[in-house]
């Protein structure tokens, strides 16, 4: 398949290794992966803050960059949530609708579309705490949120369980938001960082060596919080583990 790779701004600027892992993983699975070089962002920061009109130019650029692929894949749940559920500052032409419906978050893509059943190259002999970002958990429905009385499922755990040596720990409040929340992280920074401190402490108490997530933005925030209060924790994106990162 011909896949358009969307690497959101945080990952581009701060976590290139996450972009690289995603690209390599998709290539390993036999896909032609194209990174459109004019990409910037999906429009979420503006739209999430209520400035939908200011998101229009960015959204139009996104659609231009990502038209014509079999799938668009991004290692970021919150951006995919925006594209799929909220990218509506521009006219909803067939082209726009097409791009929106073909955009997938990496875990979903591997689990639902690709149905990968093994990652023979991957080995991660560590204790990890899984952080489902709220966008992946409650919007993209990666897993059952603890608030609902429905049968349990978890796509990231399904995938990670196929990695040799991995061990999961369970924090006391597995679904609690870590406090990133996009522009919330700066508009309401005191509450945001308190949530972050509590999140990383909860994982540390549960015995995690690593916090793993499908969202680098949450990890960036949590890492900043952990470093500030001196919690010794490592952070890794799920793409890196699935692509065979050793530590």
């Amino acid at each position: 398949m011909r896949i358009g790779l969307f690497i959101p701004c945080y990952i581009d600027a701060f976590f290139p290794e996450v972009g690289i892992a995603t690209l390599e993983l998709l290539e390993r699975l036999g896909h032609e992966v194209v990174y459109p070089r004019d990409q910037t962002c999906c429009g979420q920061p503006m739209a999430n803050s209520g400035f939908n009109a200011d998101a229009a130019g960015t959204e139009a650029l996104f659609v231009r960059n990502f038209s014509g692929f079999d799938y668009v894949v991004a290692p970021s749940g919150s951006c995919v949530h925006h594209v799929r559920d909220n990218l509506d500052a521009i006219e909803q032409t067939d082209q726009v609708k097409e791009v929106r419906s073909r955009t997938y978050e990496l875990v979903e893509f591997l689990h639902d579309i690709e149905k990968v059943d093994a990652f023979p190259w991957a080995k991660f002999p560590h204790r990890v705490g899984l952080h489902n970002s709220c966008g992946t958990l409650r919007r993209l429905k990666h897993a059952l949120p603890s608030e609902l009385n429905e049968p349990f499922f978890s796509k990231p755990i399904d995938l990670l369980s196929k990695v040799e040596g991995i061990e999961f720990v369970k924090p006391a409040r597995p679904d609690e938001c870590c406090g990133f929340g996009g522009t919330f992280s700066v508009f309401e920074e005191v509450v945001s960082t308190k949530m972050g401190y509590d999140k990383v402490s909860d994982h540390a108490q549960a015995g995690a060596e690593y916090i793993v997530s499908a969202d680098s933005s949450c990890l960036m925030h949590q890492q900043g919080c952990a470093e500030r209060i001196g919690v010794p924790m490592k952070f890794i994106h799920i793409a890196q583990i699935l692509n065979g990162a050793s530590a």
């Binding site: 999430n48 209520g50 200011d54 709220c134 309401e188 920074e189 960082t193």
Partner: protein, 518 residues
């Protein structure tokens, strides 16, 4: 949280007051510490942490929720207690939920009943009025808060009422009822323990179900010692509850009128239902001869059988208990008495006309969205500076005053847990998101935010300019997307570290490693 009950050996519940004299477990009211776990616990410390107060409200100016939240967080004993107490309610709710296999169906059913009723509101309200009148209830209609207060005042005046006992009601808070009564010289006595604490402390309730949940027991001890003369150093909860009970009983017995809210009105029977845990609503309604109930028009349901759905959901969602201690049905005045119901609109019919927000009227005020909200738990309900706090507050406060509450929809990480716990399935987090758009369109959002977002929008829609901005940067801070450093204050780095800039961006790695193919 009120009555003291203990288990006796044969399993019967015996009120400590009924114990024999000399029983060491009996209630002692002389200010000495009690001889049980809570009573023998050491005071927290010699100088208890002072209670952080709520948002500073200046008329119509936008409430700064974040400022008040920061002060709450700066009081770690309060913040921790508050977070843990409410999280405990959330966990109890989860346990109750898991005991009901049809839970999700119940939620859908509750939502459907409410949506049906709200879209036929006029019919059901007329039906209620006719049936309630036939039962002997006087039914009044109040367009807004002022009209509500005047109607109640007129009833009280006609009956020569000097003192009024009342149970907890968010609607009367919304109407500023206590302040109004103070201005016309009628004494109001709140009978719900938490609400009474708040009244004595001259502070609004911070939560729709547990109004004083933001207070430590040492805070309550301070309030009671100031107002009803308890020992300021005794913060034993049983001692405090008992002291309040002793102080309030005579007031209840001597009151001229009683007032309650109402959780549900049933159209087909013309009755209304009040759900409480302390029995105080029943005292308020039944001790004096005159009973007035103020009820929001959205509280109506068509038939008695629908009540079962809501009763199963309400207390499980609110406190994680299967049912409230009291579910009292009021049908009409007792012999020689008088009963009034004031049906209050106060912005509700206007809200019903808002395409994106009308379903907020389904709310049954269970507080589950507040208990689960990670922002609310860490900010305290008073930080919102509004009658309704937490997630439900974010979506209904702006309907009362868009300017004053323009910051509130931003006090959310949009995590969506609120919508999942809501027993009537209000899409709370989507309405928070929608409010942000509306407030921006109505120009209620500060200029700094506006300028930052416009700049971000321009930069992110121009790839060349964006790349130049990223490439020219040589420090981590300058690397940050513009919206992160929008106000020059670097809100990111105040309480957390900035990310470490890598050797190269993904963009340049891709150029170097896959460039040939592109």
């Amino acid at each position: 949280m009120s009555t003291v009950r203990e288990q006796t050996d044969d399993g019967a519940m015996l009120h400590p007051e009924q114990r024999a004299e000399g029983d060491p477990d009996a209630i002692i009211r002389d200010g000495r510490r009690l001889d049980h776990a809570e009573g023998t616990s050491k005071p927290l410390r010699a100088h208890p942490e002072p209670q952080p107060r709520g948002a500073k409200v200046h008329g119509n100016r936008p409430v700064d929720q974040q400022e008040a939240a920061a002060r709450f967080i700066a009081a770690p004993e309060h913040e921790k207690m508050h977070d843990e107490r409410l999280w405990d309610l959330r966990q109890k709710r989860d346990r109750e939920m898991h005991g009901i296999p049809e839970w999700e169906e119940l939620r859908s059913l509750a939502s459907a009943i409410k949506e049906h009723t709200l879209t036929h509101l006029d019919e059901y309200l007329d039906q209620f009025e006719a049936n309630a009148s036939a039962n002997g209830i006087h039914v009044h209609w109040a367009r807004d808060a002022a009209e509500h207060n005047q109607i109640v005042h007129a009833i009280l005046r006609d009956n020569g009422v000097k003192s009024l006992i009342k149970s907890k009601s968010m609607l009367t808070e919304e109407c500023g009822f206590r302040h109004y009564m103070a201005s016309v010289g009628i004494e109001v006595i709140e009978t719900d323990l938490g609400e009474r604490i708040q009244q004595l402390d001259n502070e609004d309730p911070s939560h729709v179900v547990v109004p004083a949940v933001h207070k430590l027991r040492t805070d309550v001890a301070a309030v009671f010692s100031r107002t009803i003369g308890t020992d300021p150093n005794n913060s034993d909860v049983h001692y405090l509850a008992e002291a309040q009970r002793e102080a309030t009983r005579p007031l209840i017995l001597n009151a001229d009128a009683g007032m309650t809210g109402g959780n549900f009105m049933v159209a087909e029977t013309g009755t209304f239902v009040v759900c409480t845990n302390e029995g105080n609503a029943d005292l308020s309604a039944n001790v004096p001869k005159l009973h007035i109930a103020s009820i929001g028009i959205e509280k109506i349901i068509p038939r008695l059988e629908h009540l079962a759905v809501f009763v199963r959901l309400l207390s499980r969602s609110a406190l994680g208990s299967p049912i409230t201690q009291y579910t009292s049905h009021f049908r009409g005045p007792r012999a020689g008495g008088e009963m009034h119901v004031v049906l209050v609109d106060n912005g509700r019919s206007e809200r019903l006309g808002l395409a994106e927000f009308w379903t907020s009227l389904k709310c049954i005020r269970c507080g589950a969205c507040m208990n689960t909200c990670p922002v609310y738990r860490r900010s305290g309900g008073l930080s919102y500076g509004a009658t309704y706090s937490g997630p439900i507050g974010l979506i209904i406060d702006p309907t009362f005053n868009a300017r004053k509450y323009s910051n509130l929809p931003y006090a959310s990480s949009l995590n969506g847990s609120c919508s999942n716990v809501c027993p009537v399935k209000i899409n709370i987090h989507e309405q928070i998101y929608a409010w942000r758009r509306v407030l921006v369109e109505q120009h209620e959002v500060p200029l700094a935010k506006r300028a930052a977002m416009k700049a971000a929008g321009v930069l992110l829609s121009r790839p060349a300019a964006y790349r130049a901005a990223i490439a020219a940067a040589d420090t981590a801070l300058a690397h940050l997307p513009r919206f992160v450093i929008y106000n020059g204050l670097n809100a990111w780095g105040k309480h957390r570290e900035v990310p470490h800039p890598p050797k190269e961006t993904f963009h340049s790695w891709d150029h170097a490693n896959r460039g040939a193919k592109r």
